[in-house]
Symmetry: C2
Subunit: 200 residues, 2 copies
Amino acid sequence: MGSLDFFYFFGSVYAYPSVLRIGPMAEKAGVQVRWRPINVRPLMRENNVALRDEAQKVRYMWRDIQRRAAWHGLPFVKPPIWPTEPDLLASHVAMVAATEGWVEAYSVESFRAWFLAGLPLGTPDSLAVILPRLGQEPERVLALAQDPAAAARLDAETDAARQVGAFGSPSFAVGGELFWGDDRLDEAVAWAAGTHPAQR
Amino acid sequence: MGSLDFFYFFGSVYAYPSVLRIGPMAEKAGVQVRWRPINVRPLMRENNVALRDEAQKVRYMWRDIQRRAAWHGLPFVKPPIWPTEPDLLASHVAMVAATEGWVEAYSVESFRAWFLAGLPLGTPDSLAVILPRLGQEPERVLALAQDPAAAARLDAETDAARQVGAFGSPSFAVGGELFWGDDRLDEAVAWAAGTHPAQR
């Protein structure tokens, strides 16, 4: 029989749904649970740093993403480049794409190239590979991306996210209803479709 | 047709699964997606504070928990007390319960009482209500909870969580495989059962 250590803190709000769900779920899966309350405060203090500054959290993030990809049936190759360059060219190209109506295809292609083919986001070399696949001429697009209008649009879009209260990526908003994180994608889609149980 | 604003950042690792999943999911649900790349860095800088110190994140947390409870079919009443008192008596009683074999029932009863009946965790008044429901005599249990052995066990359990790399609550560990957050409970149970797709 498989077994599982369940570490949780008395006072942790997100432990509430786990405490109520883990027993029946584990029983159904034939898994034994060791209930192990802990004091989470020292662990949080020790790790109270930005994700990218702490090796343990970074290791967790990559392992988590790898498992999540498998969980969702998505391909995964750990991208060799992270964090990405902060020059924002990838985002400025996205503003051109948004203005011209090809932002979805550009986004999917960019993230696939970043994760699966090891192409860094927003370098001229990567864009020279990605843009032609979308029927776009790199020279024309890069010129528009460097126009102040692209930076202005990015600021405006960022402000729109700020207005709905977003504080991380990805976020999803249905009117004023905010959902944060890839884990909430299914809930956000259900909310937009009007079928989320909390809407009843 | 319902619609959804999808805010994401070029460079955000957790945007990868969303970028690849949102199109088919939204189409299936009959939902329209507005793809809106943003610059998440200023939003993260503005909100780089502990969760409990920032009104916007706290509001988000309660709304999120309320929706998650509905999503999982769990009852929800916003507990009037949060954050909980840091005196750790609830955790020390949990150590007594773990030693004596009733920690699961104590945990479920405590979290239900906290969330649904507004009973703060770990106060003598709350424990006087909760413990008799479990067939436990409050005076006896409180005496044991105040014994240094309970504090020592809590330290040891917290150290066990530290050893597997835990940095938050709830966390789940299957051998050396760590899962963090209620959102990962289904994956952790699958891992313990040997059926997680990343195990193949």
